[in-house]
Amino acid sequence: MDKYNLNNSYKAVVIGGSAGSFQGIVKILSQLPKNFQLPIIMCLHRLKHVRNGFVEALSIKSVVQVVEPNDKESIKKGGVYLAPSNYHMSVELGNHFAMSTEEMINNSRPAIDVTLGTAAYVYRDKLVGILLSGANRDGGLGMKLIKDKGGLTIVQEPSECMIDTMPKAALSLTQIDYTLKIDEIVAFLVELNKHYK
């Protein structure tokens, strides 16, 4: 039954995505178990000047209300978080977020590499990283950092992606643990939740 090696007690899930990832994210959020325990931290490429609407669109079908956290806001069990527009979002030691307006990275702010890389530093081998469809290479380095710290890495099956540049970047930079379709990612998260300690 244990298809995935989930003996490790994972503490958080980070998800990155860009062009073509919205439908997949909505599907994941709408099919999450109601009692999903791990915080889900999302960084999705988005329009810089549009502050409103995105989190609401994601929340419509989501089992859990999606939140764009404030600077230094605590990361709570079961919380679902989205990086706000025009800020980089980092995970800080002490289990909270930190925002920044630094230079764009990979032409992006928020940049997926920032969220994934800082989460890898804080959660180390207790982190699951998931990278979905996208048209640039942002997130590839972040996935490598997660893998280097002993975390578990998943990319969306490139054939299922609207644009596969992003998962392929991760696959070229590190040994990704699982390449899964969205339905399989949902099944994985259900399994992960059962193993939560």
């Binding site: 600077d71 230094k72 925002m99 307006t101 530093y121 950092l145």
Partner: protein
Amino acid sequence: MIQDIDIADLKKITELIQVKYGYDFRNYAMSSFKRRMLRILELKSLTVESLLKKLNDQPTFIDEFLDELTVNVTEMFRDPGFWRIIRDEIIPGILLNHKQFKIWHAGCSSGEEVLSMTIVLKEMGILQDVQLYATDLDTTILDKAKQASYPIKNMELNEKNYIRYEGKGSLKDYYKEENGRAVFDKSLLQNVTFRKHDLVKGEVFNKFDLILCRNVMIYFNQTLQNEVLKKIHESMFKYGYLAIGSKESLIWCEVASKFLVVNNEEKVYKKIKD
């Protein structure tokens, strides 16, 4: 390219700067501070050891170092909705009680925000009645702010923001294009005093009716945010206004009870207690 830096090494650097130059970076937020340090090491092709040596042996290097360490990415009319609130609610609120008033841009960086403010005031016809102070830790960036000249490539975003702000004319009314730069009309800055000021160690130097400190304290940890907010509170007249960044919050800090939320979306607060 991919490198990491130990917390122990970061500590060595902050301690040297503290002892030798009197700047205190010990309570900066770790994630961004680490990124800034890695960036400096890469830009200047330095190792931690050679950086420490350079900071120790070359006192002139500190200005360059501070300029790279501090985040100087900003836009004119960032968050246009915020600027509409400033024009339509906050400034009219101040004008109910005072014809003349003072504004402080704390952490002004390259000056886009204070310049935006002067345009707002000019379009309201009250620029001559307002004293503005723009301060930053970084003297290199203050010199740039005084020039009010920006690469023309930045103007596309600035123009878009200004249009969303719904200003009276076009941003082009305020600058001339010279050698690939947008050079703004210097008379806009006639009532602006630029000065070096360190929010962390600096003293309270004046009292203000409106303080803008947007996306500055995000680089501090909560301990330091708390301390800086006390000084900001002290630098405000009762019933004065404070604006912070759209993703910042006052909720958890000590002075929170001395402020009233005026606009939660754009993060504008009013001081109600001394």
